[in-house]
Symmetry: C2
Subunit: 105 residues, 2 copies
C-alpha cells in the first residue's frame, strides 16, 4: 500500500480533491484510471486515501511520462468528467522527489 | 482543506504510513503536531487523509525549514513514539513542487 519507489530522484504528482456528493460513476472510473496508469511507461507506484479531502500521489520516472499520462485519451475523458461531475475543487502539484527515508529517518 | 499554497517552487513532504491497531494517543499527538507545524517558519499548509494508508502532505518554503521542523524537540519526541507505538511502516519523501494547477489543468 506504500509505494515501493526506487532511489530518488523521481517525480510525484500530488492530486488533492474535494468531491461532490454521490458517486456518479466515480469509484469505477478511479479504479479504471489506476489500472490504466499502472500500464503506462514510467509509472512507479501510487498511494491513495480519502477523508475530508482525497489525496492520490502517483510516482513517475520523469516529467515526460507524466505529460504523456495527462494526455492519454481515456485519461483526458476522465479528467473532463472530473471537472464536470465529481470534483468541487482539486489541485494537482508536480514535484521532484529529492530524497526519501523510512524507519531510518 | 486543500492547502492554499503560493506559486511554485516550494517543497512538499509526503508522509505515507500504515498504522498499528488502536489509538495509543495517536490522534491527540497528530493534532498537536499539526498545530505546532503551523507555527513553524516556512510552513505553507498541509493536507491529510486516511484509508488503508494515511497520507499527510505538508508544504514548506525551503528545505532548511523542513530540516528545522524535523529537528524540533517536541516533533522529535513524536517521531520516536511513531516508530515505537503507532506505525507499522511509513515513508517520508521530500519533493520540490515545480508546478501546480487546478480547474485550469
Amino acid at each position: 500500500m506504500i509505494a515501493e519507489t526506487p532511489t530518488p530522484p523521481y517525480y510525484a504528482v500530488i492530486f488533492t480533491s474535494r468531491r461532490k456528493e454521490g458517486d456518479s460513476g466515480y469509484v469505477e472510473m478511479a479504479n479504471k484510471m489506476l489500472e490504466l496508469a499502472q500500464k503506462q511507461k514510467g509509472f512507479l507506484g501510487a498511494e491513495s486515501a480519502r477523508g475530508a479531502v482525497g489525496i492520490t500521489v502517483s510516482y513517475w520516472d520523469k516529467t515526460e511520462s507524466i505529460l504523456k499520462w495527462k494526455n492519454n485519451v481515456e485519461h483526458q475523458a476522465a479528467q473532463k468528467s472530473g471537472k464536470e461531475k465529481w470534483y468541487k475543487a482539486f489541485k494537482v502539484r508536480v514535484a521532484k522527489v529529492e530524497r526519501d527515508c523510512a524507519f531510518g529517518c
